[in-house]
Amino acid sequence: MAARLAGKTMSEAAEPEMPTHALNAGKPAAPMVRLSAVSKSYWRGGEQLTVLNNLSLEVAAGDFIALMGPSGSGKSTLLNLVAGIDRADTGQVEVAGVDLATLDEGALADWRAANVGFIFQFYNLLPVLNAIENVELPLLLTGLHADARRTRARQVLGLVGLADRLDHRPGELSGGQQQRVAIARAVVADPRLIVADEPTGDLDRAAGADVLALLGRLNEGLGTTILMVTHDQHAARAARRVLTLDKGVLVDSAGG
């Protein structure tokens, strides 16, 4: 991963006129995510609640998926399984060729640090750290040393249009700006996969559009695979593909 980080992929993304790579929607790519017959249920008050029911799904590398569906249909649950922060009851979750069930907690954490970028609905920035420090945080888990981390974080914040907000704390930023910091944090370690759970859910239309445009550029420029949960048809349009989940089953899918 250090090699990928050391590369110039992000700076390429900063310049839209640079040719995109890693993704060519026309060509079949190796699947980034493969779910086979995955089931997940919760026990509540002695009653079993099946959230995901024998679900299978493939997401190609470089794809940008919008996951939709009614509240309680299991979207977040599915996202958590793919991101390696929750485990399936049965079935197999494979991401970038790794069967997540084979990793113990520690290995899974290391795997997340190396492979997954998270974007949360409520940004989840650490309030006592300023923007650049928040973005730098995931780099602590890489082999980069302090100067390189700083440089990298500054670069990525520039990419999301916050070059002039480096030392602002989250409390001093708007919701849209906070989410852009969060996006910078999600991509700073150059993950293969970005999961976003309603990233625009707490933003107004304009700020939401900024965030979606950024995600689109990441997907196009870097070929980062993105899995985004959203309630918003507008937001879903930013994706290449929309999947709809209902009562734990994928009901249909359409091109984005």
């Binding site: 977040s76 996202l79 958590n80 991101a83 922060i85 929750d86 520690g106 954490a109 290391d110 795997w111 997340r112 640090a113 190396a114 998270f118 949360f120 609905q121 409520f122 940004y123 989840n124 650490l126 309030p127 006592v128 750290l129 420090e133 730098e136 945080l137 995931p138 602590l140 888990l141 302090a146 981390r149 944090r185 759970d197």
Partner: protein
């Protein structure tokens, strides 16, 4: 400073008031702990200072009942005994009746040679022996009342009524830190003579005999020999090593000491609970932050370092402050209680104990918060912002 260190420090300063109050609790607890320990130490210092080659013979009935002066020659003849000194509690009060310090009537030559730790220059010693109206005092006492040689020290008798006037002929120094410099010695013969003139019921009586022995290992058998000499007499004796004597003297206070020692631990327990509660509150508030760190791939090592680091930084800083304050505070308290506990000092090991206690509090208080944070599910990061 590293990013994690900055995060730790800013987290600590996030709720300034809470951190301040918790830290203050630790400061006060360490202070109280150290002070109470020092009080107990001062109580035992008398016994610690006691010599193993000195026996104390007193009346078997009670310390308040004297022994006849005639016992002295019989004790001296017992094999193994080198010297016999006499001491008698005088119990006078100085000036306004509120300034107390211990005074003993002694037979100077014998008594002082049994207590080499009271260092008196040859001139002062000679002056003291020469004149029975003379008294000598410890250096600390002389400083306290601003006495200098030749001054007259008026005492109002309590056991032995009347006005007593002594001339200050010498000042002794304590050769060891625990040798009490807060006492005054006067001539037994002067006191006894006056009691004889008045035909006082307590004439010709000695408070205790201090018995010097050749060989500390024979203390027990010599003590038994002395007591057997006077068995079935009108004044039976009880002889112990000086150390045992001090301890038995302390026995009445030992229950209080036990309580004080208990309180010193309770103080720590209370601050432990206060700190554990503050930390528990803190980690609950930051639940989604810890979940976020976990999602980003931070493992137990980092989380434990963050939480325990915060707790220990606070505990050690506050503990050090408490130890630092202990010295001047103990000095002030020492002044206030010097009449009763002349040896109140803060031992280095008390400071060490206070510091270790603070660190211990920091370690124990953080156990539950660590357990809590390690159990926060990563999915908690996704649920809400707070």
């Amino acid at each position: 400073m590293g990013l994690l260190a900055r995060l730790l420090l800013r987290n600590l300063l996030r709720h300034r008031l809470r951190t301040l109050l918790t830290g203050l609790g630790i400061v006060i607890a360490v202070l109280a702990f150290g002070l109470l320990r020092s009080l107990v130490d001062a109580f035992h210092a008398g016994a610690d200072a006691a010599s193993a080659t000195r026996l104390i013979t007193r009346n078997a009935v009670s310390l308040t009942v004297g022994l006849p002066i005639t016992h002295r020659d019989r004790i001296r003849q017992i094999p193994g005994v080198t010297r016999v000194g006499m001491a008698r509690w005088f119990g006078g009060v100085y000036v306004d009746g509120r300034r107390f310090f211990p005074q003993f009537a002694i037979d100077p030559a014998n008594y002082l040679s049994l207590y080499p730790e009271y260092e008196l220059s040859a001139e002062h010693y000679a002056a003291f022996l020469r004149d029975r109206n003379c008294a000598i005092v410890g250096r600390q006492l002389a400083v306290r009342f601003g006495w200098s040689l030749g001054d007259t020290i008026p005492l109002k008798g309590t056991f032995y009524p009347g006005e007593w006037r002594f001339r200050l002929c010498g000042v002794f120094r304590g050769a060891t830190p625990v040798a009490d410099e807060g006492q005054m010695f006067l001539h037994f013969s002067l006191l006894n003579e006056r009691l004889r003139q008045e035909d006082h019921p307590r004439k010709d009586q000695v408070g205790v005999y201090v018995v010097g022995i050749e060989d500390a290992s024979r203390a027990a058998s010599i003590a038994m020999l002395i007591d057997s000499q006077f068995r079935n007499s009108r004044a039976e004796t009880l002889t112990e090593t000086e150390r045992a004597f001090h301890l038995s003297f302390l026995e009445m206070a030992s229950t209080i000491m036990l309580v004080i020692e208990g309180v010193s631990w309770i103080v720590l327990l209370v601050v432990l609970i206060v700190m554990a509660n503050a930390l528990a509150m803190t980690v609950r508030e930051r639940r989604s932050e810890y979940a976020t760190l976990k999602a980003l791939g931070f493992g137990p090592r980092h989380l434990v370092a963050l939480i325990a680091g915060e707790s220990l930084l606070l505990a050690t800083t506050a503990g050090a402050l408490g130890c630092l304050l202990l010295l001047p505070v103990a000095a002030r308290v020492g002044l206030a209680v010097q009449d009763f506990l002349p040896l109140l000092t803060v031992h280095p090991q008390t400071l060490l104990q206070g510091m270790l206690a603070a660190i211990g509090v920091g370690c124990v208080a953080v156990i539950w918060p660590i357990w809590y944070v390690l159990r926060v599910p990563v999915t908690a990061a996704l649920r809400s912002s707070d």
